[in-house]
């Protein structure tokens, strides 16, 4: 394992499987009456959120608290950042207060990479979503959900996703979830197909380890999981598609389309869902939709990542090499 988690592309197959297996152990904690492990007692983790994201922050916070870490939440709004403080100064200020790890969500692609590689701070850096670049813990929790559903909770241990066919549908261009998933699913041996209108597929996608299709209906019968990405309504103002209705008709998942999926196939969504846009209520509320499970699994995955990156009970002093 590396010292930071910046991109899903940085994980080897063995790293990823180890995280998924560890997350299964962590999930058992959630089944106990007292959902807490002493692992990170005395460690301080800051959740440094420059972008609003209640669900991701709460998920990390729950994971940190279940591992008994001391948690500091920092949101940019109303802080020194809104008065013009730089990322570097903010991070250094927090580190001076004795932070062992920084969980960062930032609107600028590459901000976590800069934080980890510019010599600004010594703390471990975990990317909780940067711009339109990466969201590695999201990809991990998605893979975890797929492995559980498609292989099985116990049968899945030690396994990757070899041969599984995953379709990711929606605003790939602006999606860090799509990028992270393509990287991680490829590493885990799955076959990924991206489906989107051509306007929402980035130029340069040809180098990605996946297939691209503009037609949802023809890909549905051949997949084990379909992941619907959120599509912001504002996108149509920039001519990415003509109208909300046309988008829904061509790329939205409704009951009829869901019926074209193989019986075992699941429907995933990273949330927040825009019901009526990329997904209908009928699909979102069906048994095949794992959106809620994904949230629960997110806590287990983030516990596993924090546990593995912060080295369990090892002392906090052994982290000076990169500066």
């Amino acid at each position: 394992m590396q010292r930071h988690l910046i991109s899903a592309a940085d994980l080897t197959r063995d790293d990823a499987v180890l995280i998924l297996d560890t997350a299964e152990e962590m999930a058992r904690v959630a089944d106990r009456p007292i959902k807490k492990l002493p692992t990170l007692r005395g460690r301080t983790i800051v959740n440094l959120f420059f972008e609003d994201s209640t669900r991701t922050r709460i998920s990390f916070e729950a994971a940190e608290k279940r591992l008994s870490a001391d948690v500091i939440n920092f949101t940019a709004k109303g802080s020194s950042v809104s008065k013009g403080e730089s990322l570097k100064d903010t991070a250094q200020t927090l580190e001076a207060m004795g932070v062992d790890a920084v969980v960062i969500r930032h609107g600028a692609s590459g901000a976590p990479y800069r934080l980890a590689n510019s010599g600004w701070v010594d703390a471990a850096v975990i990317n909780a979503g940067d711009g339109t670049h990466q969201h590695p813990t999201q990809a991990l929790l998605d893979a975890f959900t797929m492995r559980r559903r498609l292989i099985g909770r116990d049968a899945g241990l030690g396994q990757d996703l070899s041969g599984k066919r995953i379709t990711v549908v929606g605003d790939v261009l602006h999606s860090r979830v799509a990028r992270s998933n393509v990287d991680l699913l490829h590493t885990l041996g799955a076959e990924v197909t991206l489906v989107a209108p051509p306007t929402l597929v980035p130029v340069g996608v040809e180098s990605w380890p996946c297939a691209v299709s503009y037609d949802l209906d023809s890909t549905l019968p051949k997949c084990d999981a379909v992941m619907m990405l959120r599509v912001q309504r504002e996108r149509m103002n920039a001519a990415f598609f003509p109208t909300e209705r046309e988008y829904s008709r061509r790329y939205g998942l409704d009951g009829d389309r869901m019926a074209k999926l193989p019986e075992h196939a699941i429907v995933m969504h990273p949330g927040p869902m825009v019901r009526g846009m990329e997904i209908t209520a009928e699909v979102a509320d069906s048994d095949r939709c794992t959106a809620i499970e994904q949230v629960a699994n997110g806590v287990s995955i983030r516990m596993a990542v924090l546990y593995l990156l912060l080295g369990g009970n090892e002392p906090a002093q052994t982290r000076t090499e990169e500066k």
Binding site: S109, Y113, Q134, R176, V203, W208
Partner: protein, 428 residues
């Protein structure tokens, strides 16, 4: 002024010769010239070039003296072998009136390190809506002949057409920063394989090429000449090549960084590589080198763009665009063009002195190294190799993409009208 004898220099890379400077002019060029009464500069093995001319420099004064001033910028220029620089108009206030261009011109003359020829804005405030008083700037003491809204594109086709037509009255030229604004909203880097992976907003080649195509057609239509700033793509090269073959009066420049660096460097998210136009692909780099060699691209211009440290020591999206270049330009050209066999030193003199002086009508610059000419000269130790150390820069800013990189060549002496501005690598 005293006499200076430059002994045994390879003039334009040719056979060793002596060059005698008397006062402000070159008195004699030959072999075994007498040294009586002259200070002797031993130049055996070194290459003597006409003083370099940069058609594209940002000196930042007035307004951003925290990143560069006319003094620090011209010291950087002298250090890099330049005897004349054209100062871009995007200062605060914008150089869109006779008053501002005269101030910048006067500061350059007073400091005496390098002639500063101001470029006037094409439109008021660089806003692209209303022509600035181009005639007044031309008739001012600064004698402006090059006009540019650099940093912004003159994207309105009618304004561009009028500007091209209007400057014909006094032989001016419009230098276009070719960037279609709608296609580059939120653009952070070259659009392609790397931007797709990094999730950074793409700056597509077509945003540059479409404007160049339009402008060469406009120049043809109104019978004017147009200069293309910092051309960066293989497609732009093809369009300029086509335009020249049609007899359209177009000239084009390429920056040193676009001759050497590619968008792969952006993978570091280090904003020192953030520049406009962005670093492109290997294929573009090779096409630009070839075009500079065959004359499709006329000149090398630095687009020296100083920025304070804090504007680069941040996340990519928040960082300023631009790189300093005056003090490394000749080394990068040696690395990419001379050491690769694409250009000889006479070719370097042509692309970095003769042609830029001609495009910008910089009197007394870009002249032959021969008797009677102004003594604007640059002496280069072409055998030198060393790592770039920004701490040694004369520029006030340090935002170089070459820190720690080994590059060939070092300017040891620069003379501006017979006065040494750089001696043994040290500014006077």
């Amino acid at each position: 002024m005293s006499k200076i004898l430059i002994r045994g220099a390879k003039v334009l890379g040719g056979e060793p010769q002596d060059v005698l400077i008397d006062g402000e002019t070159i008195a004699e060029v030959g072999t075994d010239l007498g040294a009586e009464g002259a200070e002797v500069v031993e130049a055996a093995g070194k290459v003597l070039l006409p003083g370099l001319v940069d058609l594209h420099t940002h000196l930042r004064e007035p307004g951003r003296e925290d990143s560069e001033t006319v003094l620090t910028g011209t010291r950087a220029a002298a250090s890099g072998g330049y005897t004349a620089v054209f100062a871009m108009a995007n200062t605060f206030p914008v150089a869109d009136t006779a008053g501002v261009v005269e101030q910048v011109y006067r500061l350059g003359r007073e400091h005496g390190y390098c002639d500063v020829q101001p470029i006037g804005a094409v439109t008021v405030g660089l806003e692209g809506r209303k022509l600035a008083e181009l005639g007044a700037m031309h008739e001012s003491a600064a004698g402006v002949t090059v006009f540019s809204d650099d940093g912004k594109c003159v994207d309105d086709a009618v304004i561009m057409r009028r500007a091209l037509e209007y400057v014909k009255a006094f032989g001016g030229v419009v230098a276009q920063h070719a960037q279609e604004p709608r296609l580059t909203e939120g653009a952070q880097m070259n659009e392609g394989v790397v931007s797709a992976e990094l999730g950074l907003g793409g700056w597509p080649a077509v945003a540059e090429e479409s404007v160049i195509a339009r402008d060469v057609l406009l120049a043809e239509h109104v019978g004017s000449r147009v200069h293309i700033c910092h051309l960066s793509t293989a497609g732009s090269v093809e369009i300029v090549r086509w335009a020249k073959s049609r007899g359209i009066q177009v000239t084009a420049e390429v920056t040193p960084h676009h001759l050497l660096l590619t968008d792969e460097l952006v993978r570091t998210y280090n904003p020192v590589y953030k520049v406009n136009p962005p670093l492109r692909t290997e294929r573009d780099v090779l096409a630009l080198r070839e075009a500079l060699a065959d004359g499709t691209i006329d000149i090398v211009a630095t687009d020296h763009a100083p920025h304070p440290h804090e504007d680069k020591d941040c996340e990519w999206a928040a960082a300023a665009m631009g790189m300093v270049g005056l003090e490394t330009a000749l080394s990068v050209v040696q690395e990419t063009m001379v050491d690769t066999g694409l250009l000889d030193w006479a070719g370097v003199a042509d692309r970095m002195s003769v042609k830029p002086a001609r495009i910008g009508q910089a009197a007394g610059h870009g002249r032959p190294v021969s008797a009677g000419e102004p003594a604007n000269l640059t002496l280069v130790d072409t055998e030198y190799r060393g790592r770039v150390d920004p701490a040694g820069f004369a520029s006030r800013s340090r935002n170089t993409p070459y820190e720690g990189r080994e590059l060939p060549g070092r300017v040891t002496h620069t003379w501006l009208r017979g006065k040494a501005t750089l001696v043994d690598g040290k500014l006077t």
